[in-house]
Symmetry: C4
Subunit: 246 residues, 4 copies
């Protein structure tokens, strides 16, 4: 927590808005894909993943200078854990505020997507928690944590926006679970019974797998980048930007 | 308005040419998609959105140093509003010239696309103004305004070309309206009764929604970036470029 | 012609290799698309254009420091014309060497693509010279010339690789002709009777349209960037690279 | 081998992890594509290649600062050959460690992908070694080697991540073999009888073709960039990163 950071309330607004828009992008493009390409599920996923690559990159770019653009409780958690080693990073009350904002935003994002496409908000019936999918979530989340904090550790946080977008776009396809990799987004996706939805019964398994994945990712990080006690707040701050937001 | 800017007539030519080519890209690739993939509307939209991501990025890159590459009356309007706070930005007569050039260019762009594909210029019959689509336009435009001026406020205007291209590419999919987000382009798309067209009766609703979206975007901007009284003219100017065009 | 440029023979090798690989990319990915997605021509074009965006970007990146990565007689011609104004740019004998290398390379590229896919080299029977397609070639080539030399004029030549790749990827879709925009590549594409081929009878019309487009592009360049008497050789040279190749 | 490099064991871990994830990306996205778009092989390849472009770019970005992100025995071999000329580059025992790590990782990557998609690990039955495909592998590998070491020779190694990703994405399409271009990945792909698999009988031909391609690529490199006695270890190291990992 440096003196250059915006006040917590503004960072929480950024996390809420960003996670909300992320879920709107995922759920909304899923609905569009399902409606427009009804005969090929793979084509639907290609449309859904392409929209997410582009949209997530932009969201991190816009909101990174405000809050670090975590949009994801396991990123905030890892930031807090790494920050305890270095004396920087989120403090525990900040972690709480981030997670609450992310989760509330994620639910709101589903509601907004449903409203735009006039499909009505209801609970998803899509069961997803198979052993293969849970392994997929472990791998997807491990990779995400390794990516975000490896960039921070090597002072290349300015690349986080396109890199995280690209990573999630690949992970939609190379993991069997289509890479949720985010507990808040997983909860938000309960509230749309459409392409990107997830049934409540599958959520606990997914979240546990994501937490295990985050631990694996942190382990790999400390093996490969032993000096990596940096915080995610370094991730997307560019030097020029710091003054403009303080 | 700094001393380094090109004369207004040249900036107006750039806005006219750029908006014209933007509409040619949107309408032309829509016609190509409709002709080549007649059996899957989602695939058509993927082709249409992919072409727009790439083409819009290039247009902003080429013409940004001349006029700021607004190509959009609500961007010019927001630039004028923000500029009044800071003493920079477009003056009112410049705003008028920009909007006229953008609208004339947009109509011309439809005519050129129709001519290339030999389909004849006629008025679109595609009604689009449903409540869900209007909400989509509010969100799409709010996001665009927030993106453009957040980059300017954080002195990352050099990223505007790929970022705006990526944003529109995502918004084609995550909004229900396929993200027009631009009053001039909306008017231009009246004049092609093809994939990307819009019936005149739907235009007023779309434009009102876009103006509301711009206001929402400006509100979010001032909450998240309180120092954001920058102008869109900073958006795409690179330092090295300034001398070459003055 | 500065003292830092490689000798002409090496630049000619780069132009021959680069244009050859460009045609291999265009023709080869067209054959793959036709074989793998036989039921949707639009999907074939999407595969073809996506491969070209990525491949052309890489070719310019690799060979730009050697020859400027023109791979296109109208780019070399425009470079010579602009260079006469500034005392830089290609000299007339160099222009001749470039065009010969580009054309020979383009023909070779078709032969290599045919060999990889074991389809046999034969003359294309695909007639393409309709009025709409010729207008498409004028517009596609004008945009290409404006893009390349606008970047050079504003000292952003380092962006040429992704920008030209993106531009061609968009122009595949927004022009009716799928944007050949290159006389050498047009000639090379005669020699494959596959997706990307062009019948010899259509070539003269395409080349004339491309020359007209180049003139239009130069005209727009001089209106928008009056100081643009730069040469294409500035386009892709990065400062660090100059020493490594001289 | 400079004093700033991490110890060999850590670099070997990075090569093992990176090659493993690369094969997981290629094989996993291939399985997903096959399951989700069963009716169009070209669409499957587009999904497979898109995931690989994005995923490979991210892998090089993350692990480049540790090991140089070769993930490919012919890249390591070429690095050793070029390094003998310059007194830098991999030493012979390091080359051995890299190749062992890459090959073991590649096999593991197939196993992980199979486990995520619950398809069971078995030997592929997909014969691929036709004359056209072998020519494809020569060209694909020549291009890859030329790209990697041309960027290093011109001090643009920071571009390797997106450039190599883009190159492989294009080569999936413009070569007839879908561009394996990597002996370790070729071996790894034996162990999944799915979309991306290769029958053991086709592997020796592919590997020989890749070695020939590497020689062709090195030859072209030395013709075009005579000063190119750089090593691949320069490829992805950014200055700021060096301190963080030493």
């Amino acid at each position: 927590m440096t003196s250059q950071q915006p006040p917590l309330w503004r960072r929480a607004v950024a996390e809420l808005l960003g996670t909300s828009l992320l879920v709107t992008i995922v759920v909304g493009s899923g609905i569009a894909a399902q409606q427009l390409s009804p005969n090929d599920v793979g084509l639907q996923l290609l449309q859904n993943s392409t929209a997410t690559v582009l949209g997530l990159t932009v969201l991190i770019l816009v909101l990174g200078p405000v809050s670090g653009a975590h949009f994801n409780p396991v990123v905030s958690l890892a930031d807090w854990i790494l920050g305890r080693r270095s004396g920087t990073g989120l403090a525990l009350p900040e972690l709480g505020a981030y997670v609450v904002a992310q989760t509330a935003g994620a639910v709101g994002g589903s509601v907004v997507a449903n409203a735009m496409f006039e499909v009505g908000t209801s609970i998803s019936a899509t069961e997803r928690a198979t052993p293969g999918h849970l392994l997929g979530e472990v791998i997807a989340t491990a990779g995400l944590i390794l990516l975000v904090f490896a960039l921070a550790a090597t002072k290349r946080g300015v690349l986080a926006a396109p890199a995280v977008g690209a990573y999630i776009g690949a992970a939609y396809w190379f993991t069997s679970s289509t890479s949720f990799a985010n507990p808040a987004v997983t909860v938000g996706r309960i509230f749309s019974d459409t392409f990107a939805g997830i049934a409540p019964a599958s959520v606990p398994g997914f979240v546990v797998a994501q937490l295990i994945g985050a631990a694996v990712g942190l382990g790999l990080l400390l093996i490969l980048f032993p000096a990596a006690a940096r915080t995610a707040d370094d991730v997307v701050l560019t030097r020029g930007a710091e003054r403009a937001i303080s």
